[in-house]
């Protein structure tokens, strides 16, 4: 199951369509970092609304994606973590420390636009 990546101006949007395997997540990581370089993107939104489970591997991969993209000078926002998924993550002891999160796509975009304004 591949994750489609949409380009919306300076922002890339990756939307999970279903549960992802470890290989899918690694594929996404490669794809996103490559595209950020290719399009000189300034922001990335990863929409995980359809993610059924956020286990240790998934949260580590998302954190790595955000940190790699930050090294390119761009910002990542994770949006759409479902309440029950968030509850399970906290119980499991997983954090997305150092990674911006927002309620949904709209708020994620608003966050990035604000961020760009502060920099320009």
């Amino acid at each position: 199951m591949e994750v489609p990546i949409l380009k919306q101006g300076e922002v890339l949007i990756a939307t999970f369509q279903a549960a992802l395997s470890d290989a899918d997540l690694e594929h996404l990581r490669r794809g996103l970092v490559q595209q950020v370089v290719k399009f000189r993107s300034r922001g990335v939104i990863v929409d995980v609304t359809a993610m059924d489970v956020m286990d240790s591997f998934a949260s580590r991969t998302l954190r790595e994606i955000a940190h790699m993209i930050r090294l390119r000078g761009a910002e990542t926002v994770i949006v759409g973590i479902q309440p029950e998924v968030a509850f399970a993550m906290v119980q499991l002891g997983l954090t997305l420390e150092g990674v911006a999160t927002a309620l949904d796509l709209e708020e994620g975009l608003a966050y990035l636009i604000q961020k760009f304004k502060n920099i320009d």
């Binding site: 549960a19 059924d52 956020m54 240790s56 580590r60 509850f87 002891g93």
Partner: protein
Amino acid sequence: MRPGEIRVAINSDQDIVAARQKGRALAIELGFSTGDATLIATSISELARNIVSYARKGEITLKVVQGSSRQGISIVASDRGPGIWDIRQAMKDGFSTSGSLGLGLPGVRRLMDEFEISSEPGRGTIVTVKKWKQ
């Protein structure tokens, strides 16, 4: 196969997803809340990942269990991998020998109601967890 028992062979990361989806479906079928179904699915994901990372292959068995007054779900993750030399240490947050986060086992214990582990170095590991319906 006994009725109410689902076995999922774990050989690859794809099987991790299949196992947790079957666990969630069974939990929902039994009347667990979506929140508890997510906790169950997350536990299965971690246990199945341990199998793939440490033992390469193994099995997840999902069972319906009947308590004195309530129903529950039991998950058995078994493998014939290298086993765990020091279970006490493996149950500490942050311990890992595979370069992963190492939160797996203590985290799973927090997500579930009951947790049991037995392991013999060189023989394999069996983790049994249960969640009771509220």
